[in-house]
């Protein structure tokens, strides 16, 4: 039963990442990110139930609050201030980025071999899913032109790393998880302020405008 639920959560986790590449409405990206956060929380809860370790429950609760609650709320606040609702002209069109996502998923399965070989348990075998999401996050951050899309890309990368940590090791130690979560929250807050400043000086949040500094 736990195995099936875990597979379901992992599948949802990967699907939401691909969905992020598919949709262009910025509001939809945030919704997908929230669902992905819920899937990640699900993975963390399943581990906590499995291990019956109090620390694991604390980590799961923290991941849930941060990824389903606080971060999407912050992103929605940014979106409310920035009127652009859509990604207008991504560098790579949707069909091409979906194909790239498929290739990246294959690559992730190849690259994650050492992690899978380490402990041939069903959970470790799912670890490439996290790596695939990391790569899809890179693709998003590199090819989308809106500031919010780039923040979403950064959060996808972070979700992917967190998933690898849960699936391969049962989650990093509590003290590290606390520090990482605090850093992530602060980084998003900083980016939120910088998005507002981008809009203040450039009048919009198109990252194509960021080409004043070059050699």
């Amino acid at each position: 039963m736990t195995d099936q639920l875990l597979n379901l959560a992992c599948g949802l986790f990967l699907l939401t990442a691909i969905g992020v590449l598919w949709r262009r409405e910025l509001a939809a990206l945030i919704t997908l990110l929230t669902v992905q956060g819920a899937a990640l929380t699900g993975i963390a809860v399943l581990f906590a139930v499995d291990h019956r370790h109090p620390e694991a429950f604390v980590v799961a609760a923290m991941v849930g609050v941060l990824k389903v609650g606080v971060l999407p709320w912050l992103l929605r606040r940014v979106l409310a201030r920035v009127p652009e609702a859509r990604e207008t002209a991504p560098l790579v069109n949707v069909a091409a980025s979906l194909l790239a996502a498929a290739a990246l998923t294959l690559l992730a399965y190849a690259a994650a071999r050492p992690l899978v070989n380490l402990a041939p348990s069903p959970t470790a075998r799912a670890a490439p899913v996290g790596l695939a999401v990391v790569l899809i996050g890179f693709l998003l951050a590199a090819t989308r032109r809106r500031a919010i899309s780039q923040i979403v890309g950064l959060l996808l990368i972070d979700n992917g790393v967190a998933a690898v940590a849960f699936l391969a090791t049962g989650g990093v130690p509590l003290v590290v998880e606390l520090g990482v979560s605090a850093d992530l929250l602060l980084a998003v807050l900083v980016l939120q302020v910088l998005t507002a400043r981008l809009r203040a000086v450039f009048g919009r949040t198109d990252l194509d405008d960021l080409r004043g500094l070059r050699d």
Binding site: L118, V161, V175, V180, A182, A187, L194, G212, L213
Partner: protein
């Protein structure tokens, strides 16, 4: 009694900047700025105390913090560079306030963030836990973001955005590497937070999975390499360093890059004992050559003197990577000396460039002409700092570059050393060509002193001879280090042993 003092010295590098940040939140600019200098001196004092305690290879540990010889050495680098940067910062802030460029609020925010930056760097080198090391390095990105975007102009917002996004993404890759190391440690029987302790990992290196460590090392090198400004992940560096206020550029260039490199050294010690030194050596050699080549080529066409200094930092990080790749005892000792010498010289150069910027109102090289005729003291200090960065004696970068080259030749990396130093020569010529224009030559009448046209700002621009003092002290330290290592020698040998891990 001494044990209590050891534990106190272990916490002082974190407590002193936090206390100075609290002072900055509560008190006025002048008091807070000097409190910042005191905090930097506190870090230095704690480092010296720890260095005396750990000299024979012992460690001081308490909770998640631990200090060995390498930690103590890095704390000396942080404390020394921070002391110069904060001291120069006192004058920087006073001049900004006098020119009406900074309000009490911006000065307060500046002082608080700089102290948090120092605390985060101290935590990075004091953390025994590799996860905590990662948290501290990412924290430096967050606290310096607003310092880079200090001026809120188009260019500085652009620089801050690129800095936060690129460094956060880069460092996320390093976290993936950290997770892989944790997975290897857990599979080898490690448990909980202790499994990420550096002391545990080096002690149990034999049991770690070689494939996983190979994967982790690649990820860690890319991740912390981004933060250390190694090419091709260096794109954020010239923008951020050229937009930040001068004392912050000094800290970012002089210390932050080496703190990221410190993380690479810690991981290298683990990797080398699991899979041997060949793998990291190849990766670091590629990064070293790419960095020095990129820096040398972009230095030729440089039109901005702050960006010129930033590219010089990439060049020096390339040399550090080359020495780390060589990995022999001589190479690592030279690398450590190089880090300290570069920190001191670059801090002086950036703080001097900050005064130059205030004087001329532009960071374009073409906008400054004949500095030696207008500001002889500043011209001498800035010129000597550039000579130090170019690796001329008596400054310490001469000795350390020689050491890196000799070690590389001895290790049979003749081609890499030859290619590197050919490129260093290109960079040398480019910097000399740009800086002779700034320092010598007749003053350009078109860009004459803005002071003559704007009498209101004349006092700021004319006076402040005291602002030269911290820069002169930094140069004196760099020169002294080049002449003799003195009491540092023993500490350096012990620190080298930690990176080389008895091979």
């Amino acid at each position: 009694m001494t044990e209590a003092l050891d534990v106190f010295a272990l916490h002082l590098p974190l407590a002193a900047p936090l206390a100075a940040a609290a002072v900055a939140a509560l008190r006025g600019r002048a008091v807070a700025a000097w409190a910042g200098v005191a905090a930097a001196v506190g870090i230095l004092a704690a480092a010296v105390w720890l260095a005396r305690t750990v000299h024979a290879g012992q460690q001081v540990g308490y909770g998640l913090l631990r200090a060995d010889a390498l930690t103590a050495f890095m704390l000396i680098v942080i404390g020394a560079v921070a002391a110069i940067a904060c001291w120069a910062g006192v004058h920087h802030l006073a001049a900004e306030a006098a020119a009406g460029a900074a309000t009490a609020g911006t000065a307060r925010r500046y002082l608080i963030l700089v102290q948090l930056f120092l605390a985060a760097m101290s935590l990075a080198v004091l953390a025994d836990n590799l996860g905590l090391l990662w948290v501290a390095v990412e924290a430096t990105t967050i606290v310096t973001a607003f310092l880079v975007g200090h001026r809120r102009s188009r260019a500085s917002v652009e620089a801050a955005w690129k800095y936060v996004v690129l460094c956060s993404i880069g460092i996320a890759v390093a976290f993936l590497g950290t997770v892989c190391v944790y997975a290897a440690a857990v599979a080898a029987g490690g448990h909980g937070a202790a499994a990420l302790d550096w002391t545990y990992l080096t002690g149990h290196a034999a049991g770690l999975d070689a494939d996983l460590i190979r994967l982790a090392t690649g990820l860690v090198l890319v991740g912390f390499g981004t933060k250390a400004g190694l090419a091709p992940m260096h794109a954020w560096l010239p923008d951020a360093h050229s937009q930040a206020p001068a004392p912050v550029s000094a800290l970012m260039s002089g210390v932050l890059l080496s703190v990221a490199f410190y993380a690479i050294w810690r991981y290298k010690a683990i990797t080398d004992s699991v899979i041997g030194p060949g793998y990291t050596r190849t990766l670091l050699l590629v990064a070293a050559l790419a960095s020095i080549a990129a820096a040398a080529l972009l230095l030729i066409s440089q039109r901005d003197y702050k960006r010129m200094l930033a590219y010089s930092s990439i060049e020096h990080m390339g040399l550090v990577a080359l020495g780390t790749a060589t990995g022999s005892r001589l190479a690592i000792t030279a690398v450590l000396v190089h880090v300290l010498g570069h920190g001191l010289s670059k801090a002086v150069a950036f703080c001097g460039a900050g005064q130059l910027l205030r004087l001329s109102g532009s960071s374009r090289i073409a906008a400054v002409r004949g500095l030696s005729a207008r500001r002889p003291a500043l011209a001498v200090v800035f010129g000597l700092a550039l000579l130090a960065l170019l690796g001329l004696p008596p400054f310490s970068l001469f000795a350390s570059e020689l050491g890196i080259a000799r070690a590389g030749l001895a290790a049979g990396q003749g081609w890499a050393v030859a290619a590197t130093f050919a490129l260093v020569l290109v960079a040398f010529a480019a910097i000399v060509r740009h800086s002779t224009g700034i320092l010598l030559g007749p003053p350009d009448p078109a860009t004459q002193e803005p002071a003559t046209q704007e009498p209101a700002t004349a006092p700021t621009l004319a006076a402040r001879p005291a602002a030269i003092v911290p820069l002169a002290v930094g140069l004196a330290a760099a020169a002294a280090l080049g002449i003799s290592l003195g009491p540092l020698n023993e500490l350096l040998q012990t620190a080298t042993d930690i990176i080389v891990q008895d091979r």
